[in-house]
């Protein structure tokens, strides 16, 4: 019953204890706050960095050179755009040295809209990030995956980018993280008391961690969240939950939707996606980044490369409008990123479409 913020916290704790994680840092990551979304509360290796994203990413790369495990946070992905050159650099060190230097470090950052975050707390980062070679890029849609993907990152020898769908950080899991208290109201309360920092003075507070177990979601493995036969919806992050709801709803209309949660954006599980498309012959890619030079366009291009002659309907992309930002007012946000109804309608349309 841990929520995603707690799951990430537990994964980092597991990393500190078992995987040599030595530095968890970023703006307001250390005590007393433990991160603006509480993802780093109660850990022993956290510290507050200067307000300087370039320094943060540079430090992460350097720690990787030193082979000292770190997780660096960029407070919101909206503020990562002054470090693109450094991400490119971090993603290239192994390659540029012709294999001499491994470069293990993890950057995590909250992404996406859905919380009325206005222009600078609503950005998505999947488009730009997938254009940068050399990283492995993950994005969980539930607490268990959040835990398992973080452990996967911490075990990897390469730069990893961990995208946190910010609208899901408070959403509780339906599957247990190995070691967490029982998935009951009681267990939930217990976990909160164990690992959530109290309000008020925290200077003397120490968390009590559950006996957590190893659990890894291998990088590169997607997950079929709903099986279906008529259309495949490929997505990640918060749109997994929306697509799942769409699938459940459309089932009642007699439409069978398969939903794939990519979990890893790069290198991604093409085998799974491709097999599903081969089965359903219809595919919709969904994400909320702006739609021009968008990662979904890459997936669509690959679909065309390999399945053009066997598709039964035009493949589609549902993505964010190509606007400079997400406007704050409700109407503006809703008009800017794909909504549940948009996905449902696209599914209805595509299954009816005849070549």
């Amino acid at each position: 019953m841990a929520n995603m913020a707690q799951a990430i916290r537990m994964a980092l704790h597991y990393g500190e204890k078992n995987l040599g994680l030595e530095h968890v840092f970023g703006e307001d990551v250390g005590p007393p706050l433990g991160g603006v979304f509480t993802c780093t509360q109660g850990l022993t290796t956290t510290w507050n960095s200067p307000l300087d994203e370039r320094g943060i990413v540079g430090a992460a790369i350097g720690l990787g050179f030193a082979n000292v495990r770190s997780v660096a946070e960029i407070q919101f992905c909206d503020y990562i755009y002054n470090t693109i050159d450094l991400l490119k650099l971090g993603g290239m060190s192994t390659w540029a040295s012709n294999g001499d230097w491994p470069s293990p470090f993890t950057i995590m950052t909250p992404v996406g809209a859905g919380i009325r975050g206005s222009i600078y707390h609503s950005h998505s980062f999947d488009a730009m990030m997938t254009h940068i070679p050399g990283f492995k890029i993950v994005m969980p849609s539930n607490p268990l995956d959040a835990y398992g993907l973080m452990l996967a990152c911490l075990k990897d020898q390469n730069p990893t980018m961990y995208l946190k769908p910010k609208a899901l950080l408070r959403v509780e899991g339906e599957e247990a993280i190995p070691g967490e208290p029982p998935l009951t109201a009681e267990g939930k309360k217990q976990l909160k008391e164990m690992i959530d920092a109290p309000l008020g003075d925290r200077s003397k507070w120490k968390p009590k961690w559950p006996e957590l177990q190893d659990y890894t979601v291998p990088i590169g493995e997607g997950k079929i969240v709903r099986e279906g036969s008529q259309v495949t919806v490929v997505t990640y992050g918060r749109h997994v939950l929306i697509a799942r709801d769409v699938a459940d709803q459309l089932r009642q209309e007699g439409i069978s939707v398969e939903v794939i949660d990519m979990r890893t954006l790069w290198p991604y599980d093409w085998k799974m996606i491709s097999a599903s498309i081969q089965k359903t012959k219809r595919v919709i890619f969904v994400n909320e980044d702006t739609e021009v030079t968008n990662f979904g366009e890459h997936l669509l291009r690959r679909t065309i490369e390999e399945h053009f002659y066997s598709l039964h309907a035009r493949p589609r992309l549902l993505a964010g409008a190509h606007v400079p930002g997400i406007g704050l007012a409700d109407n503006l946000e809703s008009a800017s990123v794909p909504q549940m109804a948009d996905i449902a309608n696209a599914c209805r349309e595509i299954v009816q479409e005849k070549p």
Partner: protein, 328 residues
């Protein structure tokens, strides 16, 4: 103690400080009543920022001052003559919000008529855009200057140093007043843990940039320091770095609760004590001013609730200047 400013000016400053404080408190209330998604603002910076707003050479174009501000600048804007109700419109993200049409968070001003460039949430980038207007103002005979402000933690971004480099180039010194309002903290991170050395202002030394640290909680100290700095920049056409120690009275933003934080010096309380003691304004008069603003702004906040929200089909408007609707 004796004031050096004349009574009329003191009364005006006080009035604007109250106005500004009442506005921020109103915005916080709106946030708490779900009439806005996020609050951030400037309560605690009035003693410094009202004198700043009053000394700006206000207007549009190169002969007036350009303002590159951060998100705690309501006292500056109100001192320049902005209407509180417009801040409430932005808070409520109505279509009538004159600063962003309901697109941006509150306290993100933009006013071309007054050379107030759009406030961006991105910490410290204003010190870079400031370079541009200041370069423009190196034009011969130009009277305007460029004023930029930001917080203390933000000076860790390299952009702050970039501004120092660009402003002090021997071949083209810039008429730029660089302000840092130092409240000793960034969100939850104390300044003193993060910065070696004594002051932020001292970073100007290695570039030959005149600089000074002042108590920004003191109205008159602020007034005269600003007067001197602005005069220097305007006449010498050279940069000046001014660090003002200020308070953060309601925490960082609504994300940290937006509750009054006891223990910080409240510049308005201090100023009112002095005004009272000096016989400039009586307690009752000051109470009355506050009451009046409270009443008007409550009314205005009700008014704002009746105003229309922007419609979804406007999202593409103004990607380009003068363009409306989806263009591609």
């Amino acid at each position: 103690m004796k004031f050096k400013l004349e009574r009329k000016k003191l009364v005006q400053i006080h009035d604007l400080m109250v106005k500004s404080r009442v506005l921020e408190e109103r915005l916080i209330r709106m946030y708490k009543q779900n009439d806005g998604y996020f609050w951030i603002g400037g309560p605690g910076e009035e003693a410094f920022s009202v004198p700043l707003g009053l000394q700006v050479r206000k207007g549009s174009g190169l002969d007036h001052d350009y303002l590159h501000l951060h998100y705690r600048s309501s006292p500056i804007l109100l001192a320049m003559g902005a209407e509180p109700i417009d801040s409430m419109r932005q808070m409520k993200n109505t279509a009538t919000d004159p600063y962003s049409g309901g697109r941006n968070f509150g306290n993100h001003y933009s006013k071309r008529d007054w050379n107030v460039v759009p406030v961006s949430s991105t910490i410290e980038t204003q010190y870079l855009t400031a370079i541009g207007t200041a370069v423009a103002q190196t034009r011969k005979g130009c009277k305007g200057i460029t004023i930029v402000n930001g917080g203390d933690s933000g000076t860790a971004e390299g952009d702050f140093a970039s501004a120092l480099v660009w402003a002090s180039r021997p071949v083209l010194p810039l008429p730029m007043l660089m302000i840092v309002t130092n409240n000793g903290v960034g969100i939850s991170t104390p300044h003193c843990n993060q910065f070696g050395g004594d002051s932020i202002a001292a970073r100007g030394n290695a570039f030959g940039i005149k600089n000074r640290v002042i108590n920004g909680n003191d109205v008159e100290e602020s007034w005269f320091a600003l007067e001197e700095a602005i005069r220097y920049v305007r006449e010498e056409r050279k940069p000046f770095l001014l660090e003002a120690k200020v308070s953060r009275l309601y925490g960082h933003s609504s994300a940290s609760g937006a509750n009054f934080v006891p223990g910080e010096e409240d510049c308005l309380v201090e100023f009112e004590k002095k005004l009272d003691k000096a016989g400039i304004l009586k307690r009752a008069e000051m109470e009355k001013i506050r009451e009046e603003y409270n009443t008007t702004m409550l009314e205005q906040s009700k008014q704002v609730k009746t105003e229309p929200a922007p419609s979804g089909d406007t999202i593409y408007d103004h990607v380009y200047y003068g363009q409306k609707g989806r263009y591609w």
